[in-house]
């Protein structure tokens, strides 16, 4: 038997038990908080029609979609001509959870409540070049409200995201911040600086590098990209001299963009979101950032991004997208959502040592096996302990206790129960605490209670 290549496909990962339990610990908190905010779960298929996926993520996105090869006669027919990439596939793997939501909102309009509050935690697939922290299959944890244009929605989204992070042990305003902006405010600000819509993206990509390349670097890049010197000077000046503090930022914005109708509306909406956030879980961590862009394509209103102190990149984000659902439903439906970056959050939890020491789901007790003739009574003992709610592993082969204890240790099991013919005859069990070495003999009926008290 020759050994084969048994590593997972490039860019994907196997999650061994401890890793699964850690991921579950986080996902359980995410889901239970999302539920406490009145959201319900949705699940959609891994595969979507290619026409559903294409054209939603920009040209680069289209290239990153994993396509599923046609089969049988359909494939044979294509192969007879000179097929192009899209002729060979009829479906693809989902690229995010927002497009599937838009499809679902259109498909089940009559069954869903008028305001549809859903969360979705499922893997998405992108044929990106694998790199540190960048995977081809990774989980998204999305929270969206479809069907309401009330800005209360944004406050609830930010509250839920903060509540998750607090429950995981992070402190809002210290460990992480949520930056808040508004698409219309950003547009007005760019206009006030003298930038047309067609140059906006170029400019913001450069602006985003301030931390990395400094003022001079940003200026140089903006000029190289062909922006007028006057515009560049104004932008960089704003960027460096904008105030901190939300009320101060509102005033600063008023001075610059209140003459634009959409700018005025955007500022009012930002004020409203900030008011609603007060008194909730996100109260202390939402900071206005007039330069936050979040890509530029489908957002139409408030946008937000979660950043951790000391970590570049975002740990989540989202915004209002009032036009996307309409692409599928044929009528405009307002929507807004936020997504938590699970992989990033796991990384930070690990670095800060914030995972609980014992994770729910791990076995608690090992029933050791003395000899072939004790198999049946050992299994009955295990059954009895399980009925009391204990998670009990049974060592499947009789043999030296040392070997069995080593196995328990490897699986992080704290207690071992020992059952030899003598113990069976006397209706007792020996329980050993593998961390302290302490060993006690107990009446069989008392064993479960004794263990439960100590776990």
């Amino acid at each position: 038997m020759a050994k084969r290549n048994t590593s997972p496909v490039s860019g994907t990962r196997d999650f061994l038990p401890l890793e699964v339990l850690r991921r579950r610990y986080v996902v359980d908190i995410i889901e239970s908080v999302y539920q406490s905010y009145g959201f319900e779960p949705l699940e959609t298929p891994a595969m979507e029609r290619l026409e559903t996926l294409l054209g939603k993520y920009g040209e680069e996105g289209d290239q990153l979609i994993f396509r599923i090869l046609k089969r049988g006669e359909k494939l044979d027919r294509e192969l007879r001509d000179r097929p192009a990439e899209n002729d060979l596939a009829d479906s693809g793997l989902r690229y995010d959870l927002t497009v599937p939501l838009a499809r679902v909102a259109a498909q089940y309009q009559m069954e869903l409540p008028r305001i549809f509050k859903r969360y979705q935690v499922q893997p998405v697939f992108r044929a990106d070049r694998p790199a540190k922290g960048r995977f081809r299959e990774f989980f998204q944890c999305d929270l969206d409200v479809v069907g309401s244009s009330s800005l209360l929605v944004e406050a609830e989204l930010l509250g839920a995201a903060s509540e998750v992070l607090e429950r995981l042990g992070f402190a809002g305003g210290r460990d992480y911040r949520i930056r808040l902006n508004h698409r219309a405010v950003l547009r007005a600000l760019m206009e006030a600086a003298g930038l047309g819509v067609e140059r906006e993206e170029t400019a913001l990509v450069a602006v985003d590098k301030l931390d990395k390349i400094g003022r001079a670097g940003v200026e140089q890049e903006l000029i190289e990209r062909g922006l007028p010197r006057e515009t560049v000077a104004r932008l960089v000046d704003w960027l460096e001299n904008r105030p901190s503090g939300n009320p101060e930022t509102i005033s600063w914005l008023r001075e610059r963009v209140e003459s634009f109708e959409h700018g005025r509306r955007g500022i009012e909406e930002l004020g409203e979101v900030l008011r609603y956030v007060g008194g909730g879980a996100a109260e202390s961590c939402v900071d206005l950032d007039p330069f936050l862009a979040r890509g530029l394509s489908y957002y139409t209103g408030p946008i937000f991004e979660i950043n951790f102190e000391g970590f570049s990149g975002s740990a989540g984000g989202g915004g209002r997208y009032d036009d996307l659902i309409g692409l599928f439903s044929g009528r405009q439906v307002p929507a807004s959502g936020i997504s938590l970056g699970l992989e990033r959050i796991l990384l930070i939890l690990d670095e800060r040592g914030l995972f609980p020491e014992r994770l729910t789901g791990q076995p608690q007790v090992l029933a050791t096996l003395f000899a072939p003739e004790t198999i049946a009574p050992t299994l009955q003992l295990a059954h009895r302990l399980r009925e009391s709610g204990l998670r009990v592993d049974v060592y499947p082969e009789p043999g030296k206790y040392g070997k069995q204890f080593k196995y328990a240790d490897q699986r992080h099991i704290r207690f071992a129960v020992l059952l030899s013919p003598r113990e069976i005859a006397q209706d007792v069990v020996t329980v050993k605490d593998l961390t302290s070495g302490e060993q006690v003999e107990l009446a069989t009926e008392k064993a479960a209670g004794w263990l439960l008290e100590r776990l």
Copy 2:
């Protein structure tokens, strides 16, 4: 905006919230029982190398694998020549959870405990023709032990599967049975009937139809398939006259196959499994069935299948497969597993009305919205109720209570809280039980306690 085709891809399903919560209810029980038996979770990627998948599921299986199209230059290169199906793909979607387990067991030999007890609940993908109850993406719930040839393993697998079904409200021996057989016993029995290994599968496919086409039908089919009349007569006679009861079946088998060395060993192993099952959760529902076949390819020892009274087809099954892991690891590693048929179990639970009336995860309280100026205090009230552990939805738009109550009803929310400026001024809330119509005014600080008592 034109409406597009928004149905899910053929053979796949969208799970709306109630359906997700029902599925979770079952999966949570499955996982918590599996954990109580000392198993830990594994998760593997949706995509596997094509070479990992091909040749494991027979010729028909190979055709049912969803292949992922190559991309970029690799694809261009293939398209220049006359490519065949397998040239165009480098990976495929997982077809089951057993082959990924075998790959993982080989890849992480040094990290995993010598005896690896894992469960895995993930979707698998098959390009089958969609039909009622047959899907292209469906969940498997697998439980396996890798690394031990002890038959205690089989007893634990059967115990865990039974425990799951009991917790779901089914009674072993009445609602469902687990049929048990052994590959070696089956082989010996076929030999005793005069059937060579090459005809075994053909014969068993016909035998399996006894319930549907009757004795005469089975006889006719066996003869049409070219089996000697004498063999057919013996098989059909055995099929019809075999005894019921496990001890009787063991004796009956002894008479027929004890002269074959592997038959003798198989009977002994079956007796051992039955002995170990005694006193556990599967005690009353395991029945020997000497004709149970479970396909014929990779099983090497005991095999089992779960059947529900009044439902054709199986609700789960499995067996020992001591050679599969070796295909990947290059050395023989014993293994045995069972898989529960989630889709089938959900169907039966639904037909029997066994789902709980209220599922965990649904919102419990709707905070209604009186007017724009009550948004902030309403959100603060919701925050307060959530901190007490309640699942609280907030209606995002002020408007008539009737409309808001209707929304609550649609979402199966039992309680509404009302907060008008008068109530805010007096620091009280009105709570309405939407099922009874009962309405009470409570001090704000008392509301959570009052609600928790009634939920």
